[in-house]
């Protein structure tokens, strides 16, 4: 699946997007966060516990307990500041 990062999270992780193949036990958005943290120090910092960020699965805002089954694109981002 494709994982995208936005705003400060993109800079902290170091890439805007990446293709990942998480193991089968990664079933939810929250599982993916925990698994992604192990990829680099940047990932660990951006996705740290207590950091204020949200997620979307296939372009729709999703809670951390949302299932990943069939997901093509998961995004992580800080709270929105448009308008």
């Amino acid at each position: 699946m494709k994982v995208k990062y936005f705003a400060w999270m993109k800079r902290t992780v170091g890439v805007a997007e990446e293709q990942v193949e998480p193991p089968s036990e990664v079933r939810t958005v929250g599982d993916l966060v925990v698994w992604l943290r192990t990829r680099s120090n940047g990932h660990a910092e951006a996705l740290a516990e207590g950091a204020a960020f949200g997620a979307a699965v296939d372009h729709r805002t999703a809670p951390f307990d949302a299932p990943l089954a069939g997901a093509r694109e998961v995004a992580f981002f800080p709270p929105f500041t448009g308008g």
Binding site: K4, A7, H59, T61, A75, P79, F80, T81, G82, G83
Partner: protein, 158 residues
Amino acid sequence: MAVRVQEADFDVGAEIEALTSGNKRIGGVALFVGLVRDKHIREGLHRERIDALTLEHYPGMTEKALEEIEAEACRRWPLEATLIVHRYGRLAAGDRIVLVIVGSSHREAAFEACEFLVDWLKTKAPFWKLEETPAGEKWVDAHEGDDEAAARWEKKAS
């Protein structure tokens, strides 16, 4: 009913004309234009000058989120026409960022739906602002007041 996410500026007069021409059921139009402010006014004494900002968004999700917000407004109020235009990219202080236009037979619906659309797009559409200040670049933090403004419409729904 339309949503546009674009880098280019917009012409407010031309957009009103295009949205309302040909629909004589519209009795009133309410609109909001958001501009880039040249100062931070939220943090008390730390009033940093803002020279410009860069708006980042999530292509694909942004359009979908704005369309959902627009559809929700149409469910709640009897609207004849709506338009949301949101810009992205680098914008200087004083530049227009966002345009929301609502046309309805009655002014109450137009005013309320316009306010609703602005409140919800601030908290539900994936945009992020990076400010350029004399002290360097700074990502704008989400504002609690925006969450509260958006939440009052949640209460009304129940």
